[in-house]
């Protein structure tokens, strides 16, 4: 066969593979693997940052509420009393958000394991973590049947090492959970939006109150330096420092959560796309290697 004919034959084979909707398949394409990794990375990041920031938000707010009580008289009308200084950050309320972030992280980890591992105990551990974290959510967005179906899909891959099953399992799971994942992220994003009317807004309101009350009192005393002058100035700056925290951390948390939604959309798109769609010669090369490996298995 001449070189031109060989090229033509290769081209025909590739056209047939890509154009036929890929009835011939060896599993996940490079794009799909990258989409899974991107999703896994973004959920892993918030799995640790959300619990940390929630604790920080509660501690900052309680501290500001105590400091306001120390300096400002009369106490603002809506200020919580000494037994409810953690108002808006009660343990049950925080636990709900922590459970949601852990469920997202466990889900991302499960998908990554499903895309990369064939070790049965590894996969079973990932699915068990995911199922138990979803079960701790106060408002479960997945039904028991859906959770069981995820476990079953993963176990198929763990039991039978077939690349094709891997792609099918991922697609099934992501299609089932895509909307709920985005809805959960939407709720978390509002929690961290300084203007969202939820948790970060409570920190913001406390910070604003400190700044405003201290400024108001300082304006009244003018150039005189009463005994509480230093305390008022300290309160003013504490409010200002927390206001910066609110905008900075709130903004970065919202952006991290929005990133998960984007990664989730991209993942769904990638899994629904033909498995051999490619955007670069490197991806094509990797996929061709996959075909060669599969052909070798079939020949044997």
């Amino acid at each position: 066969m001449s070189m031109n004919l060989r090229h033509a034959a290769t081209l025909m084979l590739l056209t047939c593979l890509f154009g036929s909707g890929c009835s011939f398949s060896v599993g996940l394409s490079q794009q799909q693997k990258a989409a899974v990794a991107d999703f896994g990375n973004s959920t892993a990041a918030i799995g640790t940052s959300i619990p940390q920031e929630l604790t920080s938000m509660r501690d900052r707010t309680v501290r500001m509420r105590i400091d306001e009580l120390n300096v400002i008289y009369p106490v603002p009308k809506q200020w919580p009393d000494y037994q409810h200084l953690d108002k808006d950050f009660e343990p049950a309320s925080l636990q709900q958000r922590i459970a949601a972030s852990q469920a997202l992280a466990a889900y991302g980890n499960l998908l990554e394991k499903l895309a990369t591992s064939s070790d049965a105990s590894d996969l079973n551990q990932a699915v068990s973590n995911f199922q138990s974290s979803v079960n701790t959510l106060a408002q479960k967005s997945l039904s028991t049947q859906q959770i069981d179906a995820v476990g079953e899909a993963v176990r198929v891959v763990a039991g039978i090492y077939i690349e094709r099953k891997r792609a099918e399992a991922l697609k099934t799971i992501v299609e089932d959970t895509h909307d709920q994942t985005n809805a959960l992220c939407g709720l978390l994003a509002v929690d961290f939006d300084p203007n969202g009317g939820n948790l970060m807004s409570a920190v913001k309101l406390a910070a604003m109150r400190l700044e405003e009350d201290a400024d108001n009192h300082l304006k009244k005393v003018g150039n005189s330096h009463p005994q509480d002058y230093g305390a008022l100035v300290k309160l003013y700056w504490e409010g200002a420092e927390n206001a910066v925290y609110v905008e900075k951390v709130g903004g970065s948390m919202v952006s991290a959560i929005t990133q998960i939604q984007k990664a989730n959309d991209n993942l769904l798109k990638a899994l629904q796309a033909p498995e051999f769609a490619f955007e670069s010669p490197t991806e094509l090369e990797a996929d061709v290697k996959g075909i060669q490996a599969w052909t070798a298995i079939l020949k044997n």
């Binding site: 009308k77 808006d88 203007n195 969202g196 009317g197 807004s201 409570a202 604003m208 108001n216 304006k219």
Partner: protein
Amino acid sequence: MAALGPNLFTALDNLQTLLIKTPAGSDHDTLQDQYDKLWDQAQDLVDANVQAATVEYNSAIKVLADANKKIQDAINGLAKAVDVINKVAEAITVIDTLLTKLGVI
């Protein structure tokens, strides 16, 4: 809280900037009272975690957007304190109606 939150918090942000710029006096005191009232309303909304979208809710968004424009003008020296006071008073009334209707206050 959908679009009400951003409008209400922007109004508080803007009003605080204006208050810090405004010297002590009767305008400052009136603006301070209005700021306190808006702050209380925002805290009520945070505590209640309001997600409603009623006619009153939409009216509150509109009147807050108008108030924000007026406060911003005043910060830039293009509006008088009295204009801001009138607009913010209107916003406070509409939000009060909303909170009452929602059973928050």
